[in-house]
């Protein structure tokens, strides 16, 4: 048995895959420092730093993938994908359809996401719903080190473009780099189970599009991804003492959605609560309501999401991000 931190697990799985598959190359800003352990093991032909030119290096990653490589293109933050969306929206996501199914771009876009450390609204977004909106993109949001490593392996084996999001509150290195700067004077509400955990001795791919039930309960189903799963588990623990029994379903991938698992659990409990750190409107939370409606499942529905631009001030930010208080209140309302 071995335990790892979240990003350590991703890098470890990535290293295993790079040893097995020489087509995998890493591309990104400051990657020579950020992924220095991979650089000294695999060399600068495979671990390549870039200028601050997102449109160029993501576009390069997409086309290199089409031409036979398996690039992992890493970003400082998912927010910065806005600079180069064309490569994803109009190219990576479209190649398979445009080529009549004959050609794909197996690129993995790796990016930290999420808030909770006071960096402001241009640097703390989640955006997985925005990305998952586009047909042809796979969007992965793991919540534990074991899933993070296993899903990275799956992403590398997947034949289409995949976005792999690491929540900064779970990532020991990103939180230090961007949040604390090695200060001991700041504190974050880090979900312990997500930041460090048991991982397999040898990495095996975790199937894409397969949710996992983190907690079984009969009254309400809470569905989420990333840090949202942990906030839901904290809330479930509190609600248990009030006699409310909560299921927590970790989607692990936003696209494709595990509709079967969602519908099964929602049908059992008759109450569905979506916890989503991404924006509320036109996103994952609304999509899940469509999933259960289309399946004809009678259930009550509520959501706890981010409704506004994320404010910089920590107390304001804590109020607007999904937290256990908001989740508990919402569950109690569903129970009425």
């Amino acid at each position: 048995m071995r335990t790892m931190f979240f990003t350590q697990a991703v890098d470890n799985a990535l290293a295993q895959a790079m040893s097995d598959d020489s087509r995998i190359v890493l591309i990104g800003e400051d990657i020579l420092l950020l992924r220095r352990n991979l650089l000294v093991r695999f060399g600068p032909r495979r671990v390549r730093g870039t200028p601050i030119s997102e449109s160029a290096f993501l576009g390069v990653g997409v086309a290199a993938a089409m031409a036979g490589l398996r690039p992992v293109v890493e970003f400082y933050m998912v927010d910065f994908l806005a600079v180069c969306m064309d490569a994803l929206l109009n190219h990576a996501a479209k190649v398979e359809a445009f080529s009549g199914g004959k050609w794909t771009a197996p690129v993995v876009v790796r990016a930290p996401c999420g808030g909770g450390y006071g960096d402001g609204g241009q640097h703390e977004q989640s955006l997985w719903g925005w990305l998952a909106h586009i047909p042809g993109l796979t969007v992965i949001v793991p919540s534990t080190p074991a899933d993070a490593g296993g899903l990275m392996l799956a992403a590398l084996q997947h034949d289409g473009p995949t976005i792999f999001l690491e929540h900064k509150l779970l990532s020991e290195t990103w939180l230090e780099f961007l949040g604390s700067g090695a200060r001991h004077t700041v504190k974050f509400d880090i979900p312990a189970e997500g930041a460090k955990g048991v991982v397999p001795k040898k990495w095996e791919p975790v199937p894409i599009g397969k949710a996992v039930l983190r907690r079984a309960g009969g009254d309400v189903t809470i569905v989420g991804v990333g840090v949202g799963v942990h906030r839901a588990l904290e809330a479930a623990h509190i609600l248990e003492s009030e006699g409310i029994s909560v299921s927590v379903l970790d989607l692990r991938t936003v696209s494709p959605l595990d509709k079967t698992a969602i519908c099964e659990s929602a049908a059992q409990t008759g109450r569905l609560l979506v916890v989503d750190e991404d924006y509320e409107c036109f996103g994952l939370s609304g999509e899940l309501s469509a999933v259960v409606l289309e399946a004809g499942i009678p259930c009550k529905y509520a959501r706890v999401c981010t409704q506004t631009t994320i404010p910089y001030a920590r107390p304001m930010e804590d109020r607007i991000l999904p937290n256990k208080q908001r989740i508990c209140a919402s569950v109690r309302q569903l129970m009425q």
Binding site: L32, R36, R41, G43, P44, P51, I52, G181
Partner: protein, 342 residues
């Protein structure tokens, strides 16, 4: 005629002391997230901003505190904002990378290169409705590889927009040495768009003022954009708590956590051939060594100190001015901290 060196020194010192106090608050955990100081680039900001009038606009990067202060934005409002106070410049909602002042026509962005289109847009509005007004973009040389900045330079040239593109060139794009990732010369790029490029020593306030004065006058009189390439250093690296600086400043504390996994990876049985591994290791060591040799460690590159050296023969005046500025900054911080802690 430029303002005399005394008034330049005063605003640079104000900015320096203000930002040093900000750094202390950040270290104390009272400011969250990333904090990018402009310490080291004060001469560039002062040389340009002192020439702006009402109606002129600025597009700032994630390092905008000095420009806002020198443009006359209330230092109390800025400080409240950095502390996340609801009565801050942006209601506590923007934070230090996203500082805005509508009345001063100043917008910031944490997206590298975004200053280009913003300044060009401000300049278009100026050209259209406020004849003689200009817009300034402040960015680092890392942004010169960002498409939107290059596109904006072209547009500014094609539309003859009154823009001053100010490149605060410290040679580092976060942890990457810019020359490793940049093809050709930056000045040649600007000239390729038909924009005059001017090299300037960004540590020398008078030199910056003179070069930017000519460029701003040119823009005001309808002759289009200029590119100012101003060399400088950033004493704190990219941001406070910068990993490369920590390694160099406190190797005993920082190095074990870096060296142990690095060595394990280097000797791992499964990986690249030795030649490739060695090339990788050289790059990592190269980064650390360049930080050790970095000009930002040399106080001779400090623009505030350089101005002071010229003024120090008049000890009485200098002491008076420094005491006054220290008192003023201290009062700002005392006032705001009292509000925040109450």
């Amino acid at each position: 005629m430029p303002p005399d060196l005394w008034s330049f020194y005063k605003i640079m010192l104000q900015s320096r002391l203000y930002e040093e106090a900000i750094a202390a608050l950040w270290h104390d955990g009272l400011i969250s997230g990333e904090m990018h100081l402009g310490t080291g680039e004060e001469a560039i900001i002062a040389g340009v901003v002192t020439q702006l009038h009402e109606g002129d606009a600025m597009a700032l990067d994630h390092r905008g505190t000095a420009a806002l202060l020198m443009d006359g934005v209330d230092p109390i409002l800025i400080l409240r904002e950095l502390l996340g106070h609801p009565d801050g410049l942006c209601g506590g909602k923007g934070g230090h990378m996203h500082l805005f002042s509508k009345e001063h026509l100043v917008a910031s962005s944490g997206i590298v290169g975004a200053e280009g289109p913003t300044a060009a847009g401000f300049a278009l509005a100026a050209q259209y409705s406020r004849s003689g007004a200009v817009a300034v973009a402040f960015f680092g040389e890392g942004a010169m590889n960002q498409g939107m900045l290059m596109e904006s330079m072209n547009l500014a040239s094609a539309w003859n927009l009154p823009v001053l593109f100010v490149c605060k060139n410290d040679g580092w794009a976060i942890t990457t040495q810019s020359e490793m990732m940049t093809g050709g010369k930056l000045n040649d790029r600007a000239r390729g768009f038909g924009i005059p490029a001017v090299d300037v020593d960004g540590r020398n306030i008078i030199e910056v003022w003179e070069a930017s004065h000519a460029a701003i006058e040119r823009a005001r009189s309808g002759h289009g954009p200029t590119f100012l390439n101003a060399r400088c250093v950033h004493f704190e690296g990219h941001f406070l708590g910068f990993q490369l600086n920590r390694m160099v400043r406190n190797p005993i504390r920082e190095m074990p956590g870096i060296v142990v996994p690095l060595t394990k990876s280097f000797v791992h049985p499964r990986g690249g051939v030795f030649r490739e591994r060695l090339a990788g290791l050289k790059l990592v060591l190269g980064s650390v060594l360049s930080t050790l040799r970095d000009p930002r460690r040399d106080l001779a590159n400090d623009p505030v100190r350089r101005a002071r050296i010229t003024l120090q023969s008049d000890t009485v005046c200098l002491n008076e001015l420094e005491n006054q500025v220290e008192k003023e900054i201290s009062e700002i911080f005392t006032t705001v901290m009292a509000e925040v802690l109450s």
